[in-house]
């Protein structure tokens, strides 16, 4: 039924210089994120502090960077993006990503999906 209505509008609009545009309500369901953070010390701190705004793949895809860069990334999340991060958890979070990247380095290609 709905499709007929749209076709009809289209035909009627055919001779108009400003054809009708039909704006319908719209909704989608986004898929679940099945990405897993690899096991390791600090994983829980990352789950609690770093997954509210984005999937873990945001972190797992990053190229090899030194510890200081992970510290500055966490700082940017807190200062710029107002991430509510538990200060005491920061060293654990940084350690975790340094360790995950060290493991990635020994795995050529290294899946960023953490699968």
């Amino acid at each position: 039924m709905k499709h007929w209505a749209i076709i009809l509008v289209g035909l009627l609009a055919g001779c108009d210089s400003r054809p009708d545009v039909v704006f319908a309500d719209a909704a989608i369901t986004l898929p679940d994120d099945l990405t897993e953070l690899p096991p390791g010390p600090g994983r829980q701190a990352v789950v609690e502090n770093c997954t509210a705004c984005h999937s873990p793949s945001t972190m797992l895809q990053q190229p090899q960077v030194p510890r200081a860069k992970w510290e500055s990334i966490v700082g940017k999340m807190i200062e710029t993006y107002k991430a509510p991060v538990d200060e005491k958890a920061i060293p654990d979070i940084v350690d975790y990503f340094v360790a995950v990247q060290a493991a990635q380095a020994t795995n050529p290609g290294g899946s960023a999906a953490g699968q």
């Binding site: 054809p19 545009v21 309500d25 989608i28 679940d32 705004c53 991430a83 290609g109 899946s111 960023a112």
Partner: protein, 412 residues
């Protein structure tokens, strides 16, 4: 709008992959393009130097075919390079997707409003029908490319979204001119910039909203649109339904999605995504440099790609060779494409011109292959005389990659 075809997405993706693999012996699908490799098990290797380079091709997103899934939330999906060999218009279901903050997943069309305010004579709140009736309906074929497209190839590598080269696409956009929408409110004297906001607001207090502005002279261009149509369909939600800004020739960071606010500014824009990020150095820098001057990234430079052959592909010695690909002029028309390599510079033939800001096909017939073709690449030049460089100037955010993309072909 809710295409809802994700229920059988898994089955379909398996089918597609099998079809691709089955095609590996010959035919159109024979070669994965450039350095990309389907590595089975629903993964693709983007060839990013130093890794991590593998990305999943799942999960399927509603209304989307097979995409490189960088991130599920907020969605970041890349177009596999093989799609660009199929045509100059990128189908909606293969077009790249990129959100900085969580996206709304539902739109109530009757309730949607676009507020036009700031330095205007009379602030107005427009319905979708008001927008559609604001002026002539205009079609523009234009490339939408992420400022960070190709960031993953940056050397040295930089942090941020680790794209291959598929954060780009070309569509036919339909809408009304932004200037006709602005006329509903009347631009006041002293207008300097026009800023856009969408419905994708951060859920954290004090976090910067993804708002972007363009200079008033750009806003008044005849081809800058408030668009609702993408390749003859309404904008998919993932691409910003019900309305998005279209700025042909400029990077997609300005093409604000789910448009809800238009604000005329009388001075500089000091908001985060203009004043602090999406900026490039004004002069060449090295990774050691700090505190250099930067400006917002705006217009796109020319780019081109070989899409007919993968890096390392085998070509027939003594036989003719057909090479083809796509090219863009950026913020000016494409003028020419040359195939370049060591001691090689061959002008290519250009396909139909679908608009200044669209992709254009190029092709080249080499009458006889006499040996390997090492490190060959397409090189685009635009109507302003800007040519793709042989070396990529490094910048700390990995923006605006447009180096000549090279492959090697083995003759045997």
């Amino acid at each position: 709008m809710a295409d809802g075809n994700d229920a059988n997405g898994t089955a379909r993706s398996r089918l597609t992959r099998r079809a691709l693999l089955a095609g590996a012996g010959g035919g159109v699908l024979a070669a994965p393009v450039l350095a990309q490799r389907l590595i089975g098990d629903g993964m693709i290797d983007l060839g990013l130097p130093g890794g991590p380079s593998e990305r999943p091709l799942t999960p399927r997103f509603p209304g989307k075919g097979e995409m490189v899934v960088h991130r599920v939330r907020p969605p970041v999906l890349e177009t596999p390079m093989a799609v660009f060999d199929q045509g100059t218009i990128t189908p909606n279901d293969r077009f790249f997707v990129r959100w900085n903050w969580d996206m709304p997943t539902q739109i109530n069309a009757a309730a949607h409003r676009v507020a036009v305010g700031g330095a205007v004579r009379q602030p107005v709140s427009l319905t979708l029908d008001d927008i559609a009736n604001a002026g002539d309906h205009v079609d523009v074929v234009a490339i939408n490319q992420c400022a960070g497209n190709g960031r993953g190839f940056s050397q040295p590598r930089v942090t941020g979204g680790q794209w291959g080269n598929g954060a780009m696409g070309c569509a036919r956009w339909t809408g009304v001119r932004l200037k006709d929408v602005l006329a509903k409110a009347g631009v006041a004297d002293g207008a300097a910039r026009v800023r856009f906001a969408g419905l994708d607001v951060p859920m954290v207090d004090g976090a910067p909203q993804f708002i972007k502005s363009i200079p008033i002279d750009i806003a008044m261009r005849d081809d800058v649109l408030v668009a609702w149509g993408m390749n003859g369909e309404s904008l998919p939600l993932l691409h910003g339904y019900p309305l998005r800004i279209v700025v042909p020739g400029w990077f997609s960071t300005y093409w604000v999605k789910m448009l809800s606010t238009i604000e005329v500014l009388t001075g500089d824009d000091d908001s985060y995504y203009v004043a602090k990020t999406y900026r490039v150095p004004t002069a060449p820098v090295t990774p050691q440099d700090k505190g250099f001057e930067t400006v917002p990234i705006t217009a796109m430079p020319p780019r081109s790609f070989i899409t007919s052959h993968a890096d390392g592909a085998v070509i027939a010695l003594g036989q003719p060779l057909e090479l083809r690909g796509i090219a863009m002029g950026g913020d000016a028309a494409l003028a020419k494409v040359d195939l370049v390599g060591a001691g090689l510079e061959l002008p290519c033939e250009l396909g139909p011109d679908e608009g200044t800001y669209g992709f254009r096909r190029w092709s080249l017939r080499i009458p006889e292959v006499t040996g390997d073709l090492a490190q060959i690449g397409a090189r685009a030049t635009n109507a302003n005389g800007i040519t793709q460089p042989a070396e990529q100037a490094w910048n700390p955010s990995g923006y605006a990659r447009n180096v000549i993309e090279r492959i090697s072909l083995r003759a045997q």
